[in-house]
């Protein structure tokens, strides 16, 4: 006789899901979209929307990459430097030579893989905290690339390569949007696949994962590789969109982490939805657009961004703790709840324990 309840219906799970921080970001996304459209009705034009999406694709893809690392319990601060590196490679290696496009892309992917593997192995095998590893990688990459190029990339790569970040499929849908959809779908599938679940398990408890036969070194390292590859894709899109410049990619790591956290993932690992990370990134861009439309000085932008992430994370935590309180009157009776549980490691609906007979 089992006492295990059946899985709740899809609809109920959907509604329950929206209540979690990872689900709530989609509500935030919709709300911001509505606000932007109200403020600037032009924005509702599908053409505009799709262009906006194209513009946010690089950061959304970067956020997806960062998600894999964060959910495995680590940080990747080297993302922006990887993007900058790839941009420089695009300019210097591909340049104006169409024949170099494929070798160039291959080189960029290889560089991405190498960076990810080095980050991953230093974190897992050498046991250096990933914050430090990727900080070091960031310094080293920025320094090395600029050292090699004397700080200046040759120039924009050939236009046919830049089409990836600039062009439209059938004159309607920008390639970056397609790329975002493909990456998003792949990431979603990956998180549902055994690999993604194992990644979650490694983030939750690496010891358990190892004793379950998980190659934690391989799994975590591959998360770093995915992150570096996402940065590579973002770099390819950005160099297409905007051309070569040393400042491209700067700050992307913090932007991506912000997006992932806004998407309800928990720093420390084990929890979060990958598409929420992308939604977090898009929400952030929508917010900036809104500020712009509202005529707020761009210099205030960091302030708003700072306030938003603090509020989002705090509210996420509060919402979760409120859900844990038994019922309204009882909750009122102990306003001061010195709950020992760590802030936001947990995000599921309440449980009830049924008693089984033997």
């Amino acid at each position: 006789m089992t006492a295990v309840a059946v899985q709740p219906s899809l609809g109920r799970r959907f509604v329950a899901g929206l209540g979690t921080p990872s689900g709530a970001v989609f509500l935030l996304l919709v709300a911001l979209l509505v606000a932007v459209v109200v403020a600037n009705p032009n924005f509702a034009d599908p053409n505009q929307l799709v262009r906006f999406l194209a513009r946010t694709a690089p950061i959304a893809i970067a956020a997806i990459g960062q998600f894999f690392v964060i959910v495995s319990g680590e940080f990747d601060l080297s993302m922006g430097a990887v993007i900058a590196t790839q941009v420089v490679i695009a300019g210097n290696v591909i340049g104006q030579d169409e024949a170099m496009i494929l070798p160039g892309i291959a080189l960029m992917l290889l560089v991405g893989v190498v960076v990810g593997v080095v980050n991953g192995l230093l974190t897992t095998v050498a046991k250096v905290p990933s914050f430090i590893v990727t900080l070091g990688m960031m310094l080293a990459l920025y320094g090395f690339v600029r050292f090699l190029t004397g700080g200046a990339a040759t120039g924009n790569p050939v236009d046919s390569f830049r089409e990836i970040g600039r062009g439209l499929l059938l004159d309607t849908i920008p390639y970056p949007v397609i790329m975002l959809i493909v990456v998003g779908a792949a990431a979603w599938a990956l998180m549902r696949a055994p690999y993604g679940q194992t990644l979650l398990a490694v983030g939750d408890n690496p010891v358990t994962a190892r004793l379950s036969g998980t190659r934690t070194v391989v799994v975590k390292t591959s998360a770093f590789v995915l992150s570096a590859l996402a940065a590579t894709v973002a770099g390819i899109l950005l160099v297409g969109y905007a051309g070569v410049h040393p400042s491209i990619g700067q700050g992307y790591e913090f932007q991506a982490i912000t997006a992932v956290v806004l998407g309800g993932a928990v720093l420390g690992g084990g929890r979060g939805w990958v598409l929420s990370a992308a939604a977090g990134a898009i929400s952030l861009e929508l917010l900036f657009t809104l500020l712009n439309i509202a005529g707020i000085d761009a210099t205030w932008r960091p302030t708003v961004q700072g306030a938003i992430i603090i509020a989002a994370v705090a509210l996420g935590g509060v919402a979760w703790r409120a859900a844990r309180k038994p019922s309204a009157p009882a909750a009122a009776a102990r306003a001061e709840d010195p709950d020992p549980a760590p802030p936001s490691k947990t995000t599921t609906p309440p449980i009830t324990t049924t008693t089984g007979e033997q």
Binding site: N40, N42, F43, Q48, R51, R55, P58, G91, T149, G150, G151, A152, A153, T154, G155, N156, R166, L238, Y241, A242, G243, V244, H245, P246, S247, I248, Q250, T289, N292, I293, A298, T299
Partner: protein, 383 residues
């Protein structure tokens, strides 16, 4: 003699003399009528010296007597550089290194020790103090990271009694042997604003793309331009871009979605291509644009044949400090304030400049003035 107070005679120090008691600046008020007027004049002033070597030209004025430093011995120069963190500085630094090499050949320089402060005031102060205390510098060259903060350190360098040459950005003291700089930011602002006003109708929409706030050299450019543009009845909105082309593109795209954009004003040229592309991607008519003598901008300008101007913050000024040292070694007087010419690139000389700089990377500056140095062109091409 060094003066420590901030109230330096502004006319002696046009580009930076506006660093008045800083409280007034806090409000973002960068405009200074007197300096503006002076630079307005200097744009059409006559420059002493050979126009073939603009890096040696200067506007007639007070000279510093350098007889006390005359020497036949090669000099050990110590250069405290703010950074080489942007293409303009990189190009200039290459020119400077090439110049140093040439002067070493000719026996003027024994060595040039360089310290790079990595954009940090504190590091640069430490660098200067190190140069002073190690004591084996025959002359100091300083490219200050910021104006007010470096003033005390420059004063300490002056106190050693050796020649001190300050270039690019100034400091709030007139103790330096020579302060070398192009005419200045207001001149840039006047040139560009006049160009836009001449080429656009009243009431046109102009988007100004600015790198970042708070840098005097950049702020002066905009202060002058904004004044003229608004006076001429233009609709201007300005944005900070961090020089990031992604950001530039987004700003233009948003602006185009809200209405027409007729003109683009930039305080540096290296993002101009992204701005132009944003118009192309949106299928909008290309604007009248002011960029810089940066190669990517000049090339884009040539390719698309737009209406444009390339204002210049003369990159060749990086040669001048070392050449000033040569003059000092010879005991020749040097201009106390050495104002270099600053001639915008127009459609007329654009093509010639592009040809002269064939093979140079984007991020190179057309008026870099190093064509006669021994390493040309490899040193600039293979960075």
């Amino acid at each position: 003699a060094c003066s420590t107070d901030g109230s330096v005679d502004p006319s002696a120090n046009p580009d930076t003399g506006t660093e008045q008691p800083a409280e007034t600046q806090a409000s973002g008020e960068w405009f200074d009528q007197a300096v503006y007027d002076e630079q307005f004049e200097q744009r059409s002033a006559t420059f002493e010296g050979d126009p073939e070597t603009p890096w040696l030209q200067y506007i007639d004025g007070e000279m510093t007597d350098t007889a006390e430093w005359a020497t036949d011995e090669p000099m050990r120069a110590c250069f405290a550089n703010a950074s080489i963190s942007n293409p303009w500085r990189q190009t200039g630094f290459i020119t400077m290194q090439q110049q140093a090499e040439a002067l070493t050949e000719s026996g003027v320089l024994a060595s040039m020790e360089v310290r790079d402060a990595g954009d940090d005031d504190n590091t640069q102060i430490a660098d200067i103090d190190y140069f002073i205390s190690q004591g084996d510098c025959d002359a100091f060259i300083i490219s200050p990271n910021s104006t007010a903060a470096l003033t005390p350190a420059v004063e300490r360098a002056c106190e050693t009694g050796r020649p001190v040459i300050v270039f690019d950005r100034g400091v709030d003291t007139d103790c330096a042997t020579s302060f070398i700089h192009p005419i200045g930011g207001y001149a840039w602002g006047i040139d560009t604003a006049e160009f836009l006003i001449d080429n656009l109708d009243e009431g046109s929409n102009i988007v100004a793309l600015r790198i970042l706030p708070g840098v005097d050299v950049l702020e002066h450019r905009w202060a002058a331009a904004e004044k003229l543009l608004t006076e001429a009845g233009m609709n201007v909105e300005d944005h900070f871009t961090g020089a990031d082309p992604t950001e530039i593109k987004s700003i233009i795209t948003d602006a185009l979605s809200a209405g027409d954009v007729d003109g683009i004003w930039m305080d540096a040229g290296d993002g101009a291509v992204a701005a132009i592309e944003a118009f192309e991607d949106a299928g909008a008519e290309l604007p009248v644009i002011t960029g810089e003598d940066e190669m990517s901008f000049l090339r884009a300008w040539q390719e698309r044949d737009i209406t444009a101007l390339g204002p210049v913050y003369s990159n060749f000024q990086w040669r001048t400090p070392l050449l000033a040292l040569e003059m000092i070694a010879n005991g020749e007087p040097v201009p106390t304030e050495w104002v270099l010419p600053q001639v915008p690139v127009t459609e007329d000389d654009r093509d010639a400049l592009i040809e002269a700089n064939e093979g140079m990377p984007d991020g190179h500056y057309a008026r870099f003035g190093g064509e006669d140095l021994p390493g040309f062109p490899d040193a600039w091409q293979n960075r």
